[in-house]
């Protein structure tokens, strides 16, 4: 740990903390992480009669209670004489809202009726999950508009929720089954999604296997950039879930790489991923360590570099270095690993990459970095349908402000400001990015492909 600067030490004192709280800068809520379901009740509402969410909860062995509805008959008289919405007997762990059957503007009232009491009752780390219908599968203009309204509703709820509670939206198809949705529900309900807030992504349909707590047992996962920070957390998370991890990092980062790989019983490959033979070297490592028949189940492209300069000062070297390492190298590695060679990516495998809020929203001084990170989003969306026939899914995460050794070098006030500019009112941890990737790569997430999920605590930036 670097020594805390004076201003930061002062800020941590009880007196200043008390002042900060009054000034609207309270200590951020403590997020609950890990493979933990809410201990409080889960309420389910199905205005419009959709069965998808209900059946998914049943599949997960969860028994929801019926959501209360804020209708005039259910209201009570408060001491101040005003009508009060119905109140849940205890705090809620989650509200699951299946709106797939809603088609008319008038029916949106049913959604308000459910949200009002539930949002009041959500406890620490509570969850709102909205299951909606992808508009491209609808014809009726009103129905399309109504379904699209949930994007705005969900994002607003996310901003109104406090105490580490999150709201997210899942777009589904008519073919989407509870099995398709189970891994996503499990992820969103559990602590694994603590820093995923205000996001919407699509769950399609596929031949989806059963969900497991050790989804990667017997599977090889390659993580580039795994010597430290987010890459190390990704490696540890996949290993926790059963994976045999092949960690890849620059030869100069070998010491940290060896330590992480020994900790998780993986194997280390010291390799500059921007060399043309990187993909072949990874495949050769896989067969030489794990047998000629061994194949990669998932590759997580985490390695990346920064060469920040305002575009007015950006020369061709800074430009090219970032595009080569952060973008072109992934094309080259994937091409090699997808050509059917021993040690390459197996059919039914996974390709994952790390975009960035900088790629999503732009970031001053980072044209090269934003170009690469934004390009990755385009690549994920275009590559997914091309690899669908082989059962290979392609997804990305876009981290927001994640606290690492690198961010520790940002001056305190700036860092404190950045880290609070989101609904969670704090920076995320590397494990939050790792958990999201591990969910996206899960064999049970077969129906999730071509998606970019932000891990940003619903950052204001580019929301």
């Amino acid at each position: 740990m670097p020594r805390m600067p004076m201003i930061e030490r002062l800020y941590r004192t009880p007196v200043v903390q008390a002042v900060a709280k009054k000034a609207g800068l309270p200590e951020p809520p403590r997020l609950v992480r890990g493979r933990i379901y809410p201990t409080l009740p889960i309420a389910l509402a199905t205005p419009g009669g959709g069965r998808l969410a209900a059946d998914t909860l049943t599949l997960l062995g969860l028994s929801p209670t019926e959501a209360l509805r804020d209708v005039p008959d259910a209201r009570t008289q408060g001491e101040d004489g005003r009508a009060k919405p119905p109140a849940y007997p205890t705090k809620l762990g989650a509200l699951v809202l299946d709106v797939t059957g809603l088609r008319t503007i008038d029916e949106l009232e049913l959604v308000r009726q459910v949200l009002r009491p539930a949002v009041r009752a959500l406890g620490n780390g509570g969850r709102v999950i909205v299951v909606a219908r992808t508009e491209t599968t609808l014809d009726d203009l009103e129905a399309i508009s109504v379904q699209h309204s949930f994007d705005g509703i969900m994002r607003t709820i996310g901003k109104e929720l406090r105490a580490g509670a999150t709201a997210n939206l899942l777009w589904t198809l008519p073919e989407t089954t509870p099995a398709d949705l189970a891994s996503t529900f499990s992820f969103l309900l559990q602590g694994r999604s603590a820093y995923v807030d205000g996001q919407a992504w699509t769950i399609g349909h596929a031949d989806t296997p059963v969900l497991s707590d050790q989804p990667y047992a017997g599977r090889i996962v390659v993580v580039t950039g795994s010597a430290r920070g987010i890459g190390a957390a990704i490696s540890r998370t996949f290993a926790r879930d059963g994976a045999t991890v092949v960690g890849v990092d620059m030869p100069a980062s070998g010491e940290g790489l060896a330590a992480v790989m020994n900790e998780i019983k993986g194997s280390a490959l010291q390799l500059d991923i921007s060399t043309p033979e990187a993909g072949a070297r990874i495949a050769a490592h896989v067969t030489s360590r794990y047998g000629d028949d061994a194949r990669v189940f998932a590759i997580v492209h985490c390695a990346g570099i920064l060469r920040d300069k305002l575009v007015a000062n950006m020369d061709e070297k800074l430009w090219a270095a970032v595009l080569k390492v952060n973008l072109a190298s992934q094309f080259a590695m994937d091409d090699a690993l997808l050509d059917g060679r021993p040690g390459g990516i197996a059919d039914g495998g996974r390709i994952l990459t790390i975009s960035s809020t900088s790629g999503w929203a732009g970031s001053r001084g980072q044209t090269n970095y934003a170009a690469a990170k934004s390009a990755l989003i385009g690549r994920v969306r275009a590559l997914a349908p091309r690899l669908a026939p082989r059962g290979i899914t392609v997804n990305a995460v876009a981290p927001g402000f994640i606290v690492t050794d690198m961010t520790a070098s940002i001056p305190f006030l700036e860092r404190e400001m950045f880290s609070r500019m989101n609904s969670a009112q704090q920076g995320g941890k590397p494990v939050d990015v790792a958990e999201t990737l591990a969910y996206l790569a899960d064999p049970a997430s077969q129906a999730v492909t071509g998606q970019v999920v932000r891990v940003c605590g619903q950052a204001i930036l580019g929301a």
Binding site: T244, G247, P251, A252, S253, G254, E255, L257, A258, A259, M261, N262, E263, I264, K265, G266, S267, A268, L269, Q270, L271, D272, T275, T287, S288, R289, Y290, G291, A294
Partner: protein, 425 residues
């Protein structure tokens, strides 16, 4: 059923550095543990129990009597992996390769790591013999007057610490002084020594730039490359150095002699079957080895000339000549040591009178000699050198292709020399 054969899976070492620099505060045990952990990570061996880890150090604290076992306990290996310390001076870790290969061949073990470390920075400081005697007497004294008498016998001169010396106990000469005698006897010129030195630095620099060490070295304490390496050294720069051995007329300088070095290296040696079961690469088979010793005390032979005897005996037993080898790795204790060995093998007189051959053994093709550099450029942490050379040679043989052969030769203190043959699987 034929006897199991030992194969080299791969190796790992820390970058080597000059004594008293980046690793000044690391102990020999720290260095050896780092070398082991890098190897474990490269081959995914964390938590596994191996047959045996064998290794050692030349400069060793008494507290490090179980150095290798302690390093294993501090590593990511299963703590139930046994270990033993062994010593063969500068050939320690090559001797460990032979020891493990023989155990594998007899079926006693299936897998092992041969390793070595030396930290001139962590060298034990020894007190004078007089002070040692006094302290022992003090310990034995039972009465206060006896204790005081013991203490009173201490003289200021007794308190000077004895720096660790690389001298031969029987001659009192340092290794360099011994080599200077041999260098003169064989008429090895300054120019030839400097040429070999430049070649070593250039070859090692090229190997680093080609990524040859990506799978052989793991950084340690922020050091990512061998620090003794001087890619830009030249005949002119080396010519400017003053002789350090052999008097004012001497030809041996700090440039063409190895520097005192801190470092550690390890090499994974397993049976072919074990490699197959654990899906590990088989770079090269361990074929055979020979240890020779010479009588240097009476001046009959040079201190570092034993490899000149070990290699011909090894070749004869295996029916091989230098031409049968693709790579020949001769430890560069001093540039002159390598050149003295080469000269001896080219000498009809030496080969007939000393080796009992009918003619000269022949010349070593310089294009096959130390092609990725050796100790002059990499440095020489004494006990680690054998493991460094074994791992590098095995990787070179693998790249060359099945059936290619390599020879390793290392001179050691006490007038000893160890040679071994590897063959690509």
């Amino acid at each position: 059923m034929s006897a199991p054969r030992a194969v080299i899976v791969g190796g790992n070492r820390v970058p080597f550095v000059k004594m008293g620099t980046a690793y000044a505060k690391a102990s020999a045990q720290d260095l050896l543990t780092a070398a082991l952990d890098g190897l474990v990570a490269r081959y995914g061996l964390a938590g596994q129990r191996l047959g045996e880890v064998a290794g050692g150090a030349v400069l060793k604290h008494t507290r490090d009597f179980n150095l290798t076992r302690e390093a294993v306990l501090g590593s990511a290996l299963d703590p139930s992996t046994p270990a033993c310390d062994l010593a063969q001076a500068c050939a320690t870790s090559l001797e460990a390769v032979i020891y493990l290969s023989n155990k594998i061949a007899t079926g006693q073990i299936q897998s092992g790591i041969a390793c070595g470390v030396d930290s001139t920075s962590d060298a034990p400081i020894v007190v004078t013999e007089q002070l040692r005697q006094t302290l022992l007497a003090l310990n034995a004294a039972r009465t206060l007057p006896a204790k005081l008498a013991a203490l009173a016998s201490i003289r200021p001169a007794h308190l000077a610490p004895q720096a660790p010396a690389v001298t031969e106990p029987r001659t009192g000469l340092s290794m360099g002084e011994h080599q200077a005698l041999t260098t003169k006897a064989w008429g090895i010129t300054r120019e030839a020594q400097d040429e070999l030195t430049v070649a070593s630095h250039q070859a090692l620099a090229r190997a680093w730039s080609e990524g040859f060490f990506d799978e052989l070295v793991t950084p340690y304490l922020g050091v990512t490359i061998d620090k003794i390496l001087r890619p830009d050294t030249s005949m002119e720069k080396l010519a400017a150095l003053k002789p350090v051995f052999g008097g004012p007329e001497g030809t041996m300088t700090a440039g063409n002699s190895t520097a005192l070095t801190d470092g550690a290296a390890a090499v994974l040696v397993v049976s072919e079957e074990w490699a197959d079961i654990h899906h590990l690469p088989k770079l090269a088979r361990f074929v055979d080895a020979e240890v020779a010793a010479v009588d240097y005390v009476d001046g009959e032979e040079g201190l570092l000339m034993a490899p000149a005897y070990a290699v011909p005996r090894l070749l004869a037993r295996n029916g091989l000549t230098f031409d049968d080898f693709d790579f020949i790795e001769i430890h560069e204790a001093f540039a002159a040591t390598v050149l003295s060995h080469l000269a001896a093998w080219e000498s009809e007189e030496f080969c007939t009178t000393k080796l009992g051959l009918t003619h000269a053994l022949g010349a070593v093709d310089r294009a096959k000699l130390n092609v990725n550099g050796s100790s002059l450029a990499a440095g020489h942490p004494f006990a680690a050198t054998g493991a460094r050379m074994t791992a590098s040679l095995a990787a070179m043989l693998k790249a060359k292709g099945p059936g290619s052969k390599g020879l390793i030769s290392i001179c050691a203190a006490g007038g000893q020399g160890v040679a071994a043959i590897l063959e690509a699987v």
